[in-house]
């Protein structure tokens, strides 16, 4: 009996320490105070439209169930992030999803988020498991065969993330002989290999960032949007070089046959670009990295 009680107490202690540690580590805003203090830009709020009429089967189904199901990523700080303790989602992609949802007539409370990793995106969209997907989803011809895209809402490019005090790395030309880290098997490897043969690969970018902070690799490379997210998280320690050397158009992925929904999402993106919400959303998320907001991209309506 006594041993069992001791065991229970010990387990509780371990569980408490574990959750405490998680809370400290997993909060993307941990470093935010030092970045912007109380003057940090605030997230925009969106007016939810009423009486939206669209000839879209996905939207009709969403209205019937009273919920919009949006696919997103959960592990990209300030881009598509889920706070595991509270279940709150935050980031630039999440804001894009919210502004589109508002124009389709759904409040943030009516959004059901669905975390999907990259390889599950096409099947989930074409099976109708989600209504649309917002999460660093590059528009390309191969994917256009199975899904369709509204947007682009952001133009990303492969860039380099370095320590804030690094002045030696100024662009891809200066990484020769330096140790660069990226994700196992990613297309970023092929692009950086032209500049440097020394490449470290881990299966997550957070592992690369960890190695960058401890000084074992000199730079991390992938799309600048992802890097800006990490730079926002550790605003005093890391920075993005700002010389993108490839071009990726991020779009909202949705069912291939749903032209009405695609046009509606494109209209929504355009409207929020024009009224300044897009810039506000950027400043309050990726902008915390110190990079100024780029021009919103021109929509591609096909």
């Amino acid at each position: 009996m006594r041993t069992r009680r001791t065991l229970a107490v010990a387990l509780c202690a371990i569980a408490l320490t574990a959750t405490a540690a998680c809370g400290k580590d997993g909060t993307p805003g941990a470093d935010k105070a030092s970045a912007g203090g109380s003057a940090a830009p605030a997230l925009p709020t969106y007016t939810v439209k009423t009486d939206v009429k669209l000839d879209s089967p996905a939207l009709a189904a969403a209205k019937k169930r009273g919920q919009l199901i949006i696919g997103a990523k959960s592990d990209q700080p300030f881009l598509g992030w889920e706070d595991l303790a509270s279940g709150d989602r935050s980031g630039f992609d999440i804001e894009i999803a919210k502004m589109v949802a508002a124009d389709l007539g759904f409040t943030p409370q009516q959004i059901k988020w669905q975390t999907l990793v990259s390889s599950q995106r096409e099947p989930a969209i074409s099976n109708g498991q989600i209504d649309f997907y917002v999460g660093t989803y590059s528009i390309n011809d191969e994917r256009k065969k199975t899904v369709s895209f509204a947007g682009p809402y952001y133009v990303a490019g492969q860039d380099l993330l370095v320590k804030a005090d690094n002045t030696a790395i100024t662009g891809p030309e200066s990484v020769n002989g330096k140790n660069v880290c990226t994700a196992t098997g990613s297309t970023s490897i092929k692009n950086i290999q032209q500049y440097s043969p020394k490449i470290t690969q881990f299966d997550t970018y957070s592992a690369c960032v960890e190695k960058l902070m401890s000084g074992e690799v000199d730079a991390v490379t992938t799309d600048d949007a992802i890097l800006k997210g990490y730079a926002s998280k550790y605003a005093t320690k890391l920075k993005v070089v700002g010389k993108p050397f490839t071009k990726e158009n991020y779009g909202v992925g949705l069912n291939k046959d749903d032209k009405a929904l695609r046009d509606a999402i494109s209209d929504a993106l355009k409207a929020h670009q024009d009224n300044g919400d897009w810039k506000k959303a950027y400043d309050a998320t990726l902008g915390l990295s110190g990079s100024t907001a780029p021009q919103p991209p021109v929509l591609e309506r096909y």
């Binding site: 881990f202 299966d203 401890s214």
Partner: protein
């Protein structure tokens, strides 16, 4: 399924295959040496050594391998230990497998009749001599079958190293997936490669068993 013979894929696949073999072989060697040492610790008359062996086995056998890889790759460099990623992988995989080798050997040691050790002692042999010349040779022969399972599992466990900057079969598979080849074709070839490695290990142990098995 012809994708393997398209633009440079074969070189990537071959390099991954060789890297898997190299990693597995080095880890197997480390596991065998370390495992035997640990088994000796666990049956030794010195309480400190017994404690060390038990702690090692409990810790390494019950920790998920991914966590071990993480601990080694991310935990050692801040302590000033810098190796190549392959060496880190060998340390994690070898240390993990050593705990299984130790337990298999210990069970083998338990099958050797106590009288053998007593006879050796009455001849004036030390603990070390008794173990290496009388007990371990007999123990090793009885545990060939479970030992082969440990070493067949090892190459497959080595796939985790692919996520820790060792470019072996798993990371080759990741690259092929990202290039957009059919998942079925990729996994067919990767599975074949693992099958070849595992089958070779199994055959090796089969022939050892035929030669060394204890007749009782």
């Amino acid at each position: 399924m012809g994708f393997l013979f398209e633009d440079g894929n074969f070189a990537l696949f071959r390099d991954g295959f060789l890297q898997t073999i190299e990693l597995s072989a080095l880890s197997a060697l480390l596991a065998l040496l370390l495992g035997t040492l640990l088994a000796a610790c666990r049956v030794s008359p010195v309480p400190v050594l017994r404690g060390f062996g038990t702690t090692w086995v409990t810790l390494f056998r019950n920790t998920p391998l991914t966590v071990l890889f993480f601990a080694v790759t991310f935990g050692l460099p801040p302590l000033g230990v810098h190796f190549s990623h392959l060496t880190f992988a060998v340390l994690a995989l070898g240390g993990y497998t050593a705990s299984f080798v130790c337990e298999v050997l210990r069970s083998g040691i338990n099958t050797v009749p106590l009288g053998q050790a007593e006879a050796a002692r009455s001849l004036g042999m030390t603990f070390g001599q008794t173990l290496t010349q009388i007990v371990l040779p007999q123990a090793a022969r009885t545990v060939l079958a479970p030992m082969s399972s440990v070493f067949i599992a090892l190459p497959r466990n080595s796939a985790i190293a692919g996520a820790f900057s060792v470019s072996e079969l798993y990371s080759a598979q990741q690259t092929f997936s990202e290039r957009g080849y059919s998942i079925f074709a990729i996994f067919f070839w990767v599975a074949c490669a693992y099958l070849v490695i595992s089958a070779t290990v199994a055959l090796l142990f089969r022939s050892l068993e035929n030669r060394l098995a204890v007749a009782r």
